[in-house]
């Protein structure tokens, strides 16, 4: 089955029974998040706007019409509008229209999405270090204390994790 037939079946299932939306979510979560994060550059805001995008998508799934464009294009369309609305709103509130960054390159979004997804599959110790370091922005010393490891071991795990991710990214791109 090609990805697009797959996509189509998932969309049709969700249109018949919205509780099946979860499959579309699973498939596209990181793409939408990566797109929004790339545009707004702030984790909390990116999460808020990503949630808005999926809420709107779920509410509107019945109205989605298949026109041969991948489902993710529809989602990213909602995401683009959500981000634009945010910039308009924040521009109005500050009285200072902020410059909306240019839309990112789709290939770059795809890469970021893949990377975020690969993080989920890292071995537990590496996953923990990556999260504490990049999301919680803790220092090596803090992470070492929290995990009960030496600072050297934490730095090693950090390197292993990132090497691991890079290798898988390269593997994925052939």
């Amino acid at each position: 089955m090609t990805e697009s037939t797959d996509d189509r079946l998932r969309v049709e299932a969700a249109q018949r029974d919205p509780s099946r939306f979860g499959e579309l979510y699973e498939q596209n979560f990181y793409r939408v998040y990566a797109y929004v994060a790339r545009r707004v550059g702030d984790r909390h805001l990116a999460e808020d706007l990503t949630a808005d995008v999926f809420r709107e998508a779920l509410a509107g799934i019945a109205k989605f019409e298949w026109r041969g464009v991948p489902f993710v294009a529809w989602l990213l369309g909602i995401a683009a509008r959500t981000v634009a609305d945010h910039f308009k709103r924040s521009g109005r509130e500050s009285g200072n229209p902020s410059d909306e960054p240019d839309p990112p390159d789709p290939a770059e979004i795809e890469q970021h999405a893949m990377l975020f997804q690969l993080v989920e599959r890292l071995p537990e110790a590496q996953f923990r270090v990556i999260h504490l370091r990049f999301v919680e922005q803790k220092s090596i010393r803090e992470i070492a204390e929290e995990l009960g490891r030496s600072e050297g071991a934490v730095k090693q795990l950090q390197l292993r994790a990132i090497e691991n991710l890079r290798a898988q990214m390269e593997g994925a791109h052939g």
Binding site: P18, Y25, L159
Partner: protein, 326 residues
């Protein structure tokens, strides 16, 4: 590069990235490639964000019946509670008292529904009535099927109180083939009342058929029933078809039955408004829109103790998904 150096240099590069002091590495090589991966990781979502959002979406996607109020309904209120709006609401309440022996449970003349708000009960079913400034944008009459003990007597009281018979002689009290004696009138406020008394031959009423049932006249009943299923989790009880027309159909939503029939002519047919009591207004609102309703007002908290939204369904009827709060 020795591995020890790489460990340290990458960590320094990450420190710089996290403090926003990084300049993009230029020279190709192992460290540059790894730093690029690290730069993207700075945008990674929080650990539980994906699963939290998924849980929220699952809750929203739960079949819409789950949004229908379970135990939170107030006595006499049904999942579908008719909501009539008229500039002369106090006179309308009087009409209901005279004609149907309605009992006024509550009346507020200030603060609620911006002017006038009343709850009246006709036997086992409550109807909500608003007036005053709520009628600023026009009246909202309904078509309602009311069961009384004596159709003929109620019909005469209705006429005495200013109602007129609908459909000429056909609307006068008559034994109908569907097991009731009924008369059809329009009151002075534009509401249609199908006044009925069950005949001995009538089948036992199904659950949810209270003493007052909302009656709508969709142009196309089948698609409308599909909408009600998708939007509000309606259950199809019966659809009568006759030569491609649906003269009568019934669906149940929560603990209420909604009747409908495709009219020959929609002229003068009331627009109907309903409160739809749910456990989650936001979810009900989303589902209504997802099924094709139009938003009139998104959910918000109303000063008189409820949270509600307003949507217009594809046939033009207005729904107030609502829940009591506090």
């Amino acid at each position: 590069m020795a591995e020890h150096d790489l460990v340290e240099q990458l960590d320094q590069a990450i420190d710089a990235l996290l403090s926003n002091a990084a300049s993009a590495p230029k020279e190709p090589g192992e460290l540059t490639a790894l730093t690029q991966v690290a730069a993207t990781l700075c945008d990674m979502p929080s650990e539980d964000f994906k699963s939290r959002l998924q849980t929220e979406l699952q809750r929203r996607a739960a079949i819409p019946t789950s949004t229908i109020a379970g135990t939170s309904l107030r006595a006499g209120f049904r999942t579908i509670t008719p909501f009539l709006i008229h500039a002369q609401a106090p006179e309308l309440v009087d009409f209901l008292k005279i004609t149907f022996g309605a009992e006024e449970l509550k009346r507020n003349t200030a603060g609620e529904a911006q002017g006038f708000y009343s709850e009246v009960r006709i036997r086992d079913t409550v109807i909500m009535i608003a007036g005053g400034t709520a009628a600023r944008r026009g009246n909202l009459p309904s078509a309602l099927h009311v069961y009384v003990d004596d159709c003929d007597a109620a019909y005469r009281r209705a006429l005495d109180a200013g109602a007129v018979t609908l459909m000429g002689a056909f609307g006068e009290p008559t034994d109908r083939p569907y097991g009731e004696r009924s008369a059809f009138v329009q009151d002075a406020f534009g509401n249609h009342w199908y006044i009925a008394t069950r005949l001995a031959s009538a089948p036992l009423p199904v659950e949810g058929r209270g003493s007052v049932l909302a009656h709508v006249h969709p142009a196309a009943a089948r698609p409308y029933i599909d909408f009600l299923k998708r939007a509000f989790g309606a259950e199809e009880l019966m659809v009568m078809e006759n030569a491609g027309r649906v003269p009568h159909a019934e669906v149940r939503i929560g603990d209420a039955v909604l009747e409908m029939g495709e009219p020959d002519d929609r002229t003068g047919i009331p627009s109907n408004g309903f409160f739809l009591f749910v456990d989650d207004v936001d979810a009900a609102y989303h589902w209504a829109l997802a099924a094709g309703a139009t938003s009139i007002r998104p959910p918000n908290d109303i000063p008189y103790g409820s949270r509600s939204a307003i949507v217009r369904d594809p046939e033009g009827y207005l729904w107030w998904p609502a829940q009591w709060i506090g």
